[in-house]
Symmetry: C2
Subunit: 534 residues, 2 copies
């Protein structure tokens, strides 16, 4: 039996019916040509279910001792694992747009996992238009961290559309084959010296070298501005509707943009791709706050995991640190806003520049824990430390296939908590950037508008960077939402000969595909100099 570590148990402790601690997301696929949807989805499900030995902890359930979660918690094999409980078929009501998909996933993402079983679910979702189907996965954060879940997702995929998985991607055999294929060094353990170095870093910043929990406690106080001399700009975070107590209902929306567009904006400002993502989100949040008449005088802050790994370092899973980025939402001019964001990110990165990747990992683990402590202390909505989280997860830069079905995009669904009612996570995949927005349904009632505002912000940045001319600026932004309810609903039944085709309906609305959006509004072409190189 494997014992859960402090952080994993923390996710169990911090979980309430209002703040489920699972992560997941939607993946969109296109059916291979010529296959029948039902048959193909059943074959995928059969393959997923066909597990001899599970990759831990997908076959394990929690074993909680007499002291409860405060004591030791272990993984033990579920003696009566009920695979049909975990692998599920779902369907969308007609007309099967992304709107219906997001509605379903919003509901699924808001309910708790069963703690008496292995802590994951996977839905195969039928009923989309254009021969697409989707998966929605949901895994407890106590069971997998981000790196593990990305690797798991990748282990299912192949660059070759003719590849078929010989066994379930949830099986230990498949995992071992995948690892072997990666030719990765096995993950190394931290040396005592590295741990001591990190303890020194923490000691220097928190005036404390006590055991982890005590350190974290002090760290929390420092974060909240009540002592310590923490260098990071964690104070002076404005209050907003993003930083209230959350309820259990979620809204999930998603959208893709071409990587080239966002990258071009970054380059034009001598910044990074990630700077451009932050500027795009910052612009959208500013518009959202303005439209809700609550734009704070101080800038919103975002928790931003950043990559700090050295060139050529492929021991990649954990070389990520978290900084608090200033989103400069109090600055109206997009160009000036970009520069302010960029400077804030640079300052944050400088903090880590003298550490080794392993030390960075340890510090980050500690740094991200206070949010959980804040929650447990019930302080989260009174002492907001950041307003939101914006995570950029590096993905795969070429088309991938799952048993022949092309992956069209994958959109992460994450955790919102008291004090942080909005999470934006993005994955780069193929030629796109796939954004998943997870929000508390009550605190952020119009999360879907953020998608429009992000497009608007990106377009403004392109103009500010001189990448495109400012046409149509006087005109109010395109509102694809208005098209959502066609007057004459397509009557599939009335003409049974014609397979109800998605084409008959407006698609621009919520389509998480990069190409759909730009088409709708005279796509700005990136200049040659801004061509993405990666």
């Amino acid at each position: 039996m494997k014992k859960l570590n402090y952080v994993d148990t923390g996710f169990l402790l911090a979980e309430t019916r209002e703040t489920p601690m699972h992560v997941g997301g939607i993946s969109l696929y296109t059916l291979p040509e010529g296959v029948d949807e039902q048959e193909f989805l059943h074959s995928l499900a059969d393959n997923l279910r066909d597990v001899d030995r599970f990759l831990p902890p997908f076959g394990d359930r929690l074993k909680i001792g007499p002291l409860g979660l405060a004591g030791n918690v272990y993984w033990e094999p579920d003696p009566a694992l009920d695979i049909d409980y975990h692998i599920r078929h779902s369907a969308l009501p007609k007309p099967g747009r992304y709107r219906e998909l997001f509605n379903l996933v919003s509901r699924l993402h808001g309910t708790l996992l069963d703690r008496n079983r292995p802590l994951w679910e996977m839905h195969l979702i039928e009923g989309l238009q254009d021969r697409q189907f989707a998966t929605y996965t949901k895994t407890h954060h106590a069971a997998v961290d981000g790196a593990r879940s990305i690797h798991l997702a990748r282990s299912m995929l192949s660059v070759d559309p003719t590849t078929r998985l010989p066994e379930s991607p949830l099986s230990l055999t498949a995992w071992e084959r995948y690892r072997a294929g990666l030719e990765l060094k096995s993950p190394r353990n931290f040396t005592d010296q590295e741990i001591r170095n990190v303890a020194d870093v923490l000691k220097a910043r928190m005036d404390s070298g006590a055991q982890v929990y005590g350190a974290l406690k002090r760290f929390t106080m420092a974060w909240a501005g009540q002592g310590g001399a923490l260098a990071l700009p964690f104070r002076q975070v404005p209050r907003s509707s993003l930083n209230t107590s959350v309820d259990s209902a979620r809204r999930f929306v998603a959208q893709s943009w071409p990587f080239a567009r966002i990258r071009a904006v970054g380059k034009a400002f001598d910044g990074t791709f990630n700077d451009a993502v932050l500027a795009m989100c910052a612009g959208a949040l500013r518009t959202y706050m303005e439209n809700h008449a609550e734009l704070p005088a101080e800038s919103l802050k975002a928790l931003v995991p950043i990559s700090v790994r050295a060139e050529g370092d492929i021991d990649s899973s954990n070389a990520v640190a978290a900084i608090s980025a200033d989103l400069a939402t109090n600055i109206k001019d997009p160009a000036k806003r970009f520069v302010a964001i960029q400077e804030s990110v640079r300052a944050g990165k400088a903090f880590y520049s003298e550490m080794s990747p392993a030390e960075v990992t340890l510090v980050s683990m500690v740094m991200q824990a206070p949010a959980m402590l804040m929650m447990q202390l019930g302080l989260a909505d009174r002492l907001p430390s950041v307003n939101t989280t914006i995570s950029n997860v590096p993905g795969i830069q070429q088309p991938m296939y799952w048993n022949g079905a092309r992956l069209d995009g994958s959109y992460p669904a994450s955790i919102v908590t008291d004090g942080m009612a909005l999470n934006i996570t993005l994955v780069t995949y193929d030629k796109n950037v796939d954004f998943g927005i997870t929000a508390c349904r009550r605190s952020v009632p119009q999360a879907q508008r953020l998608i429009d505002y992000m497009e608007q912000a990106l377009a403004e940045l392109e103009v500010a960077a001189g990448l495109v001319k400012a046409k149509r600026r006087a005109k109010p932004k395109v509102k694809p939402k208005a098209k959502a309810k066609p007057k004459a609903k397509p009557k599939a039944k009335a003409k049974p000969k014609a397979k109800p085709k998605a084409k008959a309906k407006p698609k621009a609305k919520a389509k998480p595909k990069a190409k759909a959006k730009p088409k709708a509004k005279a796509k700005p072409k990136p200049r040659p100099k801004a061509k993405p190189k990666r």
Copy 2:
């Protein structure tokens, strides 16, 4: 603001993530001729959403004071009621059999309601075969009792297929019109004398006249056999897999039988319809336990709400009392088993015979509370008081319509708790009896087999009563399950001209329609003498 009473708050207190305290059920409808499914379902949803003032507490959320649930709890109007959260469109994956419906409802019934919103959800479910659609409703037991929810369901329905609801059945206006149509006396309050009479009954049985909570506590001890002289046969309940701690996942299955068949068995044994229902369930439970090699030497006991109202009494909503019925599962002979059950029910009813309906109501309220207390004391799975619950809810004896859609059946989904992992609730409707079985997915992994065993038990009773000849007794029972996976799946897409018709697929399997089952196995015709009279 209306204050919640002790019992309602109890349902909130007793709720955990493993034991959600909501009730609900599936209703099956057939689309009116000629209408388009999507259009019709959207018109139903629009009508449901069109509420000016909500029937309380459908527009109210909980307001919990500083003392939490231990203090006063009130209903207050939800200031930002989000009707789209409550009225939901859902769909079944293909082929859209009842199996897919039960899978979906099992999942929906296992998740908690959002406590920050009005405590109900309603799903409109598309994708069934044969132009059927379904609703699944879910309402917290703190918000509605059984009587209220039945009345609400009825207020939507009409005997006239041409009736269209002028306003949402969730609106106060609709409710007031419905009440006026009933010409009911307004529900009267209990007199002090009645309350004192009941206190005397409790005092006599529990040697205590203290305030309610104290009384209930002692009552619990008496129930558990630790003092008091409670006359009811609540002790000597065998342990079984039905009486373990439950987890949060549910299984829900449903089936209809002709009222005439069950009634005929009751008549033939000089018993009631309810006696026959209990005998049918008892036979099924005996088979289930035998097949799981755990048939206890002692008989299983069921909590059975019984009607104790006098002839002609129409103040019907609450004249129900609960008894513990001996299911005589230790008796092999069906006829002898029937007689034993009948005697046990008579003894239980005798307990109430000298009370007024109002007194009975009060006693029952108190009697059903200990299960909640047992849960709170964590004793439920160690001291089982009954093994299961079998509730018979009187319904409407003629076809009903919802905006023109014929109601084909309605199947209640109820609560399971630690110590009681199985609930059987039935409603009589039109010419059928609609059974809904709610079970803990882990403790009762094969709940769907109970449906087959119930048919088997009913057939045995018909033979024992001399209603039909014992044909095919040597042959093993028909297993429609085996047909569930047709080798060649119908390829709807391959022949787009043919609207995928339900007829192409096997239907007997999980069809909750009375006619489907008997057809599959040489339907035994009730003798003339057993003809149902009601």
